[in-house]
Structure formats: C-alpha cells, structure tokens
C-alpha cells in the first residue's frame, strides 16, 4: 500500500505542476466567451506560412538529430571502446558546449565565424566570406545545434556501451572484425539508448529558440514567441505551440516502432571489457580528435577566457554576482534533485505496472519536457499566483516546480533502465525478509540504481543551470541566476563583463560534474 501511496503522490505532484498549468493554457486557447472556439487552431492549420515554418523546424531538428547521432555515436565508440589516449579528457572537452546557454554559444561562434571574426583575421577574405555565409540561416543553426546537442548522444551512448555484457562482444570477436562486431552486436544492443538520446536531441532542437533567432532562420518556436512578444496574445501563442503535441506523438510512435524489445542492460563490474586497438591509425585518429577538440571546443572557450581578462576583472565580476552564483547552484541542485526523484518514482511506477498506462506516462513526461518554457511558465503563474498558493509563487519553490515538471523525463527514462535491470527477486527477497517497501527502497533499490540516479541528476543539473526562460518568468523579483544575468547583460553590456559572466556560468555548470567524475573514477558512467 505504501508503495502505491508514494508513487501516486509523486505522480500527483507531477500532474499538478507539470500538466495542469499547460492544460489550463490549452483550455484557455480553445474556450472563448461563446463556448468552444477552434477558430484559432483552424486558422493555424489553414495558414500556409505556418506550415512552411513548421517544415523548417522539422528539417532543422531532423538534420541536427541525424548529425548528432553520427558524431555522438562515433565519439562514444572512440572514447569508450578504443585505446585512444586521453579519452577521458576528450569526453569532458566534447561535452563543454552542453554547459553553456545556447545564446552565448551563438555569440561566441560569431566571434570566430562572423564577418569581423577570427576567421577574417587569419584567412583570406573569400574564406572568411564563406565562413560567415555558412554561419547563418539553416547551415549555421545546424552547425551550432549539432555542437551543442551531440554531447547528449555521446554521453548516453557511452553509458550504454559500458554496460554491455563483455562476453557478447567477445563471442562475436571470435569470428568477426571489430567493425562487424560494433555494427552487428554492440550498436544494436545499445540501440534503445541511442534512440532515447536522439529523441531528447530532436525535441530540444525542435524547441530551440536562441540559435535560430540568432541565425535568422524562421522556425516554429519563434512564431509562437512572436505572438507572446509582439501581441501578448497568450491564447494564440499557446495554440501556436501545440504542434509540439504532434511532434511528441510522432516521436513516441517512432520510438515504439524501432525500440521494440527492451534491451537488458546489466552491470559487469568485474569483467574486463574488450578494447579496440587502433594500432596504426592511433596517431592519425588522435591528431584528428585533438584538432577538432581544439578547434571546435577549446577555441571558443579560450576566446571567451581571453575576453574576460585581466583576471582582476573576472574576480570583480564574480564578487558582483555571488548572489547569482549561489542561486544558480542551489536552484540547480534542488531542481535536479527534485526532478530526479520525481522521475525515479514515476519510472518505478511505470516499470512495475503500478502506473497502468505506460504510454500516457511516457507522453506526459515528454510533453512537459517539450512544451516551450514560455507556455509552461505563464501556465505556472496563472495557476499558482493567487492568494492561496502565493507562498509557492513568491518563493523559489515555483522555479523548482518548473524544473521538476520539465526534466522529470530525463530521470524517468534513465532510472527506468536501472530499475528494469534489477531482478524482481531482489525486491521479493527483501519483502520476505521483513523489509517494508521504504526500507527496501533505501537499502536495495536506490543503491542498485545509484549510477542511473547520479547520471540523471547531473544531466538535470546542467539543464537547470543553463535554462534562462523559465527562471525569468517565475523566479521572485530581486533574484536571478547566472544564465539570466548573462542574458540581461548581453544587451549592451561590455564585452569583458559578458565574457567573464560566460566563464563563471560555465564553471558553475560544472560544479557537481567534477566531483561526480572523481567519484566515478575507475567506474564507468
């Protein structure tokens, strides 16, 4: 009984903070004084322009996802299966773009690729022109979004690859080359993980706002956004964001089609994993990776760092923004914790069939993840800003609620992998031994899903730390976080101030990542 109570409590919280606000917004968009009014939706559906923009968004996110899978999976194989030197360091460097707000990333790359950027100084005018031309519109958006989101694919694929039963690969290696083993055994086994990563990347790029705006590429989120920014027409803006629902349904359908059987992921801590020996190609591959790391990941950060100099300036900015640093860390940690726990219990409920409708669970967690922050933020305000619950709205609880609703998906999916890999007998044995469910949870289930919990926590933290929109809409006045502060000052602030804030934001996003990496040293994530 207590098991159900706990799970339904978390499910209830999720519905309250995640689904109700958005549903309220959706209802408002269909209800008018004269009853149900679908004219808004019909207008959208019949508007050719909307379809064009929708198609743009679709094209952009499909391309980004495809490229992210290609790069992410390749680098995951290189960094987790081969004898490439410094692979841990590379893993870290390749994940950096994930830690920076995308808008800052866009500006950073502008400093390199833009008209008066670095490229124009070190190359010929014609190359510089090609660069600046490339760094705009569709190609620029794809480029930047792939750099930003491919680490998600890389990290998740690595996590899955590391948990393949080594004997499966070894058995195949007896008869085949590594290439065949990877293609026929390893990758198919981790297929579901890659699909999940692709799903996340697809939805993130579909909802991405900052980069396409910067690149002047018209996409769907900017449409909905224009109606918020120019007309303050919440009904229309909400209506415009509903195609997200179709996208989610599509994503779920595809997932269901390809990710049919649940691959069993089990830990083999003591078994030695077979390693791909790069042999003669070791040096060329290493050089190539080193070059890409420097060019695409280190260079922008270096540029940012140089702009933030002298160090006194950096320290000055830091001492000015201590309050924002504190807020970012605390909100990030609590938000990530809350999202992880909520996702865990919902995931547990789904995988143990306590929550009966698995499909709807999947749908709603995806839904709150994918819906634009502006819609969910305004939904949260209209639901919680009243006399009764103003203690939530007037405190940071509202931001935590927003984070929880948005990122429950991450831990719901990731921890479910862990939960599914625990044999049911483990829990039953504890039950027979006299442990109640909470005790079993504490002593058996949580420790056995530790890695997945930690991974979800980290990912959620990074997402929380880089998210500005939801915070802007809901954090009580007088407070801010680094990402918001950074974007505040990007309007006319001095370059060095923006650069120092960028560096600080990056470092703060890394706060829990570094101890976690040390903690997991030797173990694989």
């Amino acid at each position: 009984m207590e098991k159900k109570t706990v799970i339904y409590t978390f499910l209830g919280i999720f519905v309250l903070i995640g689904i109700l606000p958005v549903v309220a917004m959706l209802l408002k968009s269909v209800l008018s004084k004269n009853g149900i009014d679908l004219s808004l939706y019909l207008n959208i559906l019949s508007n050719k322009h909307q379809w064009t923009v929708f198609f743009n968004s679709f094209k952009l996110s499909i391309t980004t996802t495809a490229l992210s899978i290609a790069f992410g999976v390749l680098s995951a194989i290189l960094f987790s299966k081969t004898n490439l030197p410094l692979k841990r360091l590379f893993t870290f460097i390749f994940s950096i773009p994930l830690f920076i707000p995308s808008y800052l990333n866009a500006v950073l790359w502008w400093e390199i690729m833009g008209k008066n950027g670095l490229m124009s100084k070190i190359t010929t005018p014609s190359i510089a022109k090609i660069c600046s031309h490339f760094y705009s519109g569709f190609s620029g958006s794809v480029f930047l979004m792939t750099i930003t989101y491919s680490p998600i694919v890389m990290l998740l694929t690595m996590a899955y690859l590391n948990s393949i039963n080594p004997s499966m690969e070894e058995a195949a290696l007896l008869t085949s080359s590594w290439k065949r083993v990877l293609l026929k055994i390893s990758i198919p086994i981790v297929k579901n993980g890659i699909i999940f990563a692709a799903m996340i990347v697809f939805l993130l790029s579909f909802g991405e706002f900052g980069i396409p705006v910067f690149m002047k590429y018209p996409v769907f989120p900017t449409e909905s956004f224009t109606y918020f920014s120019a007309f303050y027409n919440f009904r229309l803006a909400t209506a415009l964001s509903t195609p997200v629902v179709f996208i989610i349904l599509l994503v779920l359908l595809i997932e269901k089609k390809i990710a049919k059987q649940q691959t069993e992921i089990t830990e083999y801590p003591n078994a030695k994993k077979p390693v791909i020996n790069l042999k003669r190609s070791k040096i060329p591959v290493f050089t190539f990776i080193l070059f890409s790391a420097l060019m695409f990941y280190v260079l922008p950060i270096l540029l940012l760092f140089i702009k933030s100099l002298p160090l006194t300036n950096l320290f000055h900015t830091l001492s000015d923004s201590l309050e924002s640093v504190k807020n970012t860390i605390t909100l990030g940690l609590i938000g990530a914790f809350s999202a992880t726990i909520t996702g865990f219990f919902i995931g547990y409920g789904i995988s143990k069939n306590i929550i009966q409708k698995r499909e709807s669970g999947d749908f709603f967690t995806l839904f709150t993840f994918a819906i634009p922050s502006t819609v969910s933020g305004i939904g949260l305000i209209s639901l919680f800003n009243n006399g009764l619950t103003s203690f939530i709205y007037n405190s940071s609880l509202i931001v935590i609620a927003g984070f929880t609703a948005k990122y429950t998906l991450i831990s719901n999916r990731i921890t479910r992998i862990g939960i599914n890999s625990i044999p049911p007998s483990m829990e039953e044995a504890a039950e027979i031994e006299g442990a109640n469910w909470l005790y079993t949870l504490k002593k058996i289930i949580l420790p056995l899903t530790k890695k997945q919990l930690m991974a979800s926590f980290l990912i959620c933290y990074v997402f929380c730390a880089r998210e500005p929109e939801l915070i802007m809409l809901t954090l009580p006045a007088g407070k801010d976080t680094l990402s918001v502060r950074l974007l505040n000052y990007m309007a006319n602030g001095s370059e060095s101030l923006i650069a120092s804030l960028g560096i600080i934001t990056l470092l703060i996003s890394l706060v829990p990542v570094i101890p976690a990496m040390l903690l997991l040293k030797g173990e694989d994530l």
Binding site: A230, T330, I378
Partner: protein, 338 residues
Amino acid sequence: MKKFTVILAISLIIPFLLNSCSKRNREKTVVVYVSEDRVFSEPVLKEFEKETGIKVKAIYDTEENKSTGVMNRLIAEKNNPQADVYWANEPIRAEVLKQKGISQPYLSKNARTIPDKFKDKDGYWTGFSARARVFIVNKNSKEKPESILDYINPKWKGKCVIANPLFGTTTTEIAALFTLWGKEKTMDFLEKMKENKVLISTSNGESADLVAQGDYTFSLVDSDDAVNRIKQGKGVEIVYPDQKEGEIGTLILPNAVILIKGAPHKKEGEKLIDFLLSPETEQMLAKEDCAQIPLHKGVNPPSQLKEISKIKTMNIDYFEIAKKMIEIQPVLKKWIEN
C-alpha cells in the same frame, strides 16, 4: 554522520526556498520589472536604494527573448499583481498595459515639467529619457540622406539598411508611419524599399555596425546606437530625418514608467516613479553608453545629440501606434517573408 548531513542540508534548503516570503514584510521594498537594458537601469535603481533606503527587487528583460519576459509576466500576474512599477524602454508597451487594464494612474510631481506629448494625460504612464530614431550615416558619403523617403530614392539603391521591422523600435517606427500615412502609402513605401534593395539586418546594432564599417551608407537606428559608434571613433555622423518644413519629423521614443494596478507596495512604487522622473535620473541616463535624450529642460543631452526642444519631433499618438502595431504584424511578416 548521515543524519547530520541530512539535517544540515534541510536546514540550508528550507530557508533558501522560503526566504523571499519571510523577509518580505519587514523591510521596505519595491518590486520593479525593467525592460531598459540592465547595464543602464541597474545603477539608477542602486542610486534609488542608496537615497531612500527602500530595497529594490528587480526583474530585468534579457537580450535573448527581447521583451517577452517581463511584459508577459506582468500580464500573467494581472489577477494577483506582484510588481509595483514597470520601467518600459519605450511607451508602446506602456500603452498596451494601459489598454489591458494593468496600470493605474499616477501623476508624479516630477512629471509636470515633462512635455505633454511624452506622457499619458491621465498619468497611466509618463515618459522620460528618450531615444530618437536617427540616421547613422557613413562620413565617406558626400551626400547625406535627409528623409525617411530616401529609403526609396533610387539614388540610394543598395546602399541602405534597416533592422527587421518585426522586432523592437523598428516595428514602432513602421507603425508610426501607418498612423501618419495610412495603409496604402506605407505599404507602397515598404514595397518600394524592397525594390530599392534595402538590406534587412537583425538589429539596430547590426545596422549601425554595417554603416560604421562602410558596407552601407546609412541606416535608421536608435540614437544611442549611433552615439556609441561615434564614441568608438568610427567615421559616422548623425542626421535627424525629416526636419524640414512639411516633413514628418523625427520619431522620439521615451522610456516610460507605470504604476501597476493593485501594486503591493504602492507608496514605495510612487517614490520610485518620482525618482525615475527626476532630472537627476535623466542626467544619469544621458551619460556614457546609455546616451538618452533628457526631456526635462536644463538637463544636458549627450554631447553628440541635440536638445529635445531643438528637434522637430514626429507628431504622433502612442495610443494609435500601439493599436496599429498589432494590426500590422501579419502584414509585416508577409512583407519580410516574400
């Protein structure tokens, strides 16, 4: 040990989460939502804190989402307002809020010396520190543009820029033209701009840079953008458009401050409004990169700009513009996309 950590964590987290409510009533505070750039507005608000001892809690708009943040928040909070004051960076938003019933009138004593055309007569909003919509012109050009109509003059074909009229002050400018000229003439103007190969840039800042680099000859920008480029030593100068007899004049966009209906700290809010409308604030905002034109007499404008009384200003009704802006969005969109 474990229990200790848990207790420690909880005792740190709970106050953090709730501190904004507990402190709320003890200290005198005022809550202000700000659309003016934080770099410029924050020092002014700090000054207010110093002078009055009233704590300012502010939310600033971000560059990325231009101004969706605080405006949407104000509108969404209508039924249970949290903000006392809204500091808009142009008067159109203030008009929108008035029409949505979110503001309440307040006639500040400091508003008396501000010209009537820059404030709402009932006090729903009051303007201060203004931007002018001026031409930034590259000095290498022998000829200078004089009127906004130069955008469609074949002599400037392919030589001028304008920022995307879907966003920011350019939208306001086009909407102003719609109110002055009517739909037909303005649409004709827009179409001819296209024929004249006017480049559409992302922002006024980008337009100013393009002219400063010499890629283009002139662009309509906000006066502060132009002043910045002059200060950076770029070879550009400022031209006030349409100053001659019979011409429409230069569009002036003051900052605007409003008192929110149902403001939880009304008194403090009024004090903040008084402060923002004071000549001292205008002086602060006229300095350095902010470079706004003061509306009070006797406050010096930035050296690169004229006094407000010496500019022939566009004769418009901000209320009409606010209404027009919503109307013309689809038109502008279509125009941009084709």
